[in-house]
């Protein structure tokens, strides 16, 4: 602790009460200060009041949430791609389709869409978490013969790993995300300095279609199904480039 007034002054002791309440003391000092506090009614009073205040500040003062458009606006200001929130023709057509499906009593379809969306949201959350962590990968390797075996023994089935370095999407590594209480393999690719998270979620949906890129929480997302796996590619990369990545990954030879 630096710049604390003389160790014997009452002021220094009062400051240590706050440091104690904030968990800023190392264990040995915490023990000593804890004893001092217990022995001194004035220090006890300060601690009790401080803790009461910290509790109400935490509980009563809600964090002001930013207005919905702020993040997108800032990203646009610096020239980062961000999908429009305005409904496109495609989205209108999709909602029309949904309405038709509803009207025809095809609730199965609707329920499936709901699950699908929650999974995609979770994949976006995992991507953001990866960006905020010290590294976006648990294993850092551009070698798919290193990445694929790393998954074995950690999760039931290692995902398909494709080498896209020649196309300008180098493999950076991989991590395991948890989506809906299940461990999910996520490959991490790069594009210049952008990060792409590709989560491979086991999925019973049939078909091999890919959805158009869309924006979720300010990130672009491309989803597709292939061989019982629902893929979610998440990135701040511009939508066309992310779509290109998805197409390259899907069309890579099976032996790759």
């Amino acid at each position: 602790m630096t710049n604390v007034p003389g160790p014997d002054s009452g002021e220094a002791r009062a400051l240590l009460v706050h440091a104690y309440a904030d968990g800023e003391l190392d264990p040995a000092n915490a023990l000593a200060v804890g004893r001092q506090i217990a022995a001194d009614p004035l220090l006890t009073a300060e601690l009790v009041h401080t803790n009461a205040l910290r509790r109400i500040l935490r509980e009563r003062l809600a964090r002001p949430a930013p207005p919905p458009g702020l993040q997108s606006r800032i990203k646009r200001t610096v020239g980062l791609a961000d999908a429009r929130s305005r409904p496109s023709w495609r989205a209108l057509a999709a909602s029309l389709l949904l309405a038709v499906a509803l009207a025809s009593g095809s609730t199965w379809f609707v329920l499936r869409q709901g699950t699908h969306d929650r999974t995609t949201e979770a994949a976006v959350d995992a991507h953001v978490r990866g960006l905020m962590a010290a590294r976006p990968t648990d294993i850092e390797s551009g070698e798919r013969h290193t990445v694929k075996p790393w998954f074995n023994g950690r999760i039931p089935q290692a995902p398909r790993v494709v080498n896209l370095t020649p196309e300008g999407f180098p493999l950076l590594g991989a991590r395991i995300d948890v989506i809906g209480a299940a461990p999910i393999p996520t490959l991490v690719y790069g594009r210049r300095r952008h990060i792409i998270s590709l989560s491979a979620v086991p999925d019973t949906a049939r078909g091999e279609g890919a959805a158009a890129p869309r924006s979720l929480s300010g990130y672009n997302v491309v989803t597709w199904h292939d061989n019982g796996i629902g893929y979610r590619a998440v990135s701040d990369l511009a939508a066309p480039e992310l779509e290109k990545f998805a197409n390259l990954f899907r069309s890579a030879p099976a032996g790759q």
Partner: protein, 219 residues
């Protein structure tokens, strides 16, 4: 300034009550960002911005809101700070992106306040920071018996917000960074550019002032 909204209407405000400004939803006047992004250079900067700054924008907004006391001002501050961060992004090579972003937001908020609310902006230096002693530990002696803590615990949100809003900026920011944003002492020292010891004494004083304000009100 970059953003085309009328700020004169806000210049005359006293420091507004946080419950009225920070937490109330705003109906209009939000969508007016106009920067063309013409000064941007480099894909790498943009990618770094996306991974270093963007994840911390909500927190940046919360801090700006608390420091300026208004959502409208906080929006301007966060946008301004984001541009500053973007221009300086190449110079960031530390590991604590969060503290770096919050430092820029904090400094931007203060330049903004100085520019727009100069008359009300009184600094701790003006007050003479050392003049307000901690009473050598006797402050606690002014506290009554334990039932007081029940009064503190029952203080309503508006009262608490007003007490926090009434703190001098140097005290308020330390309290917010610690008790709302949850930063550690040395991170707060980094963000506010003062020694850890100063952080500690400001934090203690800030908390005592808020406790006093709540007690006085309840008494």
């Amino acid at each position: 300034m970059l953003y085309g909204r009328d700020r004169d209407s806000r210049k005359q405000q006293k420091f507004p009550s946080l419950e009225n400004f920070c937490f109330a939803a705003r109906g209009n006047g939000v969508a007016s960002a106009t920067s063309t992004g013409g000064d941007v250079n480099g894909e790498i900067d943009r990618a770094r911005f996306a991974s270093i700054v963007v994840p911390h924008l909500s927190e940046a907004f919360a801090l700006a809101c608390w420091l300026t006391g208004s959502r409208a001002d906080a929006e301007d501050v966060v946008q301004d700070a984001s541009l500053r961060a973007f221009r300086a992004i190449a110079s960031f090579n530390g590991t604590n992106a969060r503290a770096w972003v919050l430092t820029i937001v904090r400094n931007t908020a203060y330049s903004w306040l100085e520019k727009n609310r100069a008359p009300q902006f009184v600094s701790v230096q003006d007050l003479g920071e050392s003049a307000e002693a901690l009473h050598n530990g006797s402050w606690a002696a002014t506290l009554a018996d334990t039932p007081e803590t029940v009064l503190i615990a029952k203080a309503d949100a508006g009262r608490v917000e007003a007490a926090v809003a009434a703190l001098p900026p140097e005290f308020r920011e330390v309290l917010l960074l610690r008790d709302i944003q949850g930063l550690e002492y040395r991170e707060i020292a980094e963000v506010t550019a003062v020694p850890v010891g100063t952080v500690m004494s400001r934090l203690a004083r800030a908390r005592r002032r808020v406790i006093d304000a709540i007690r006085t009100h309840n008494a």
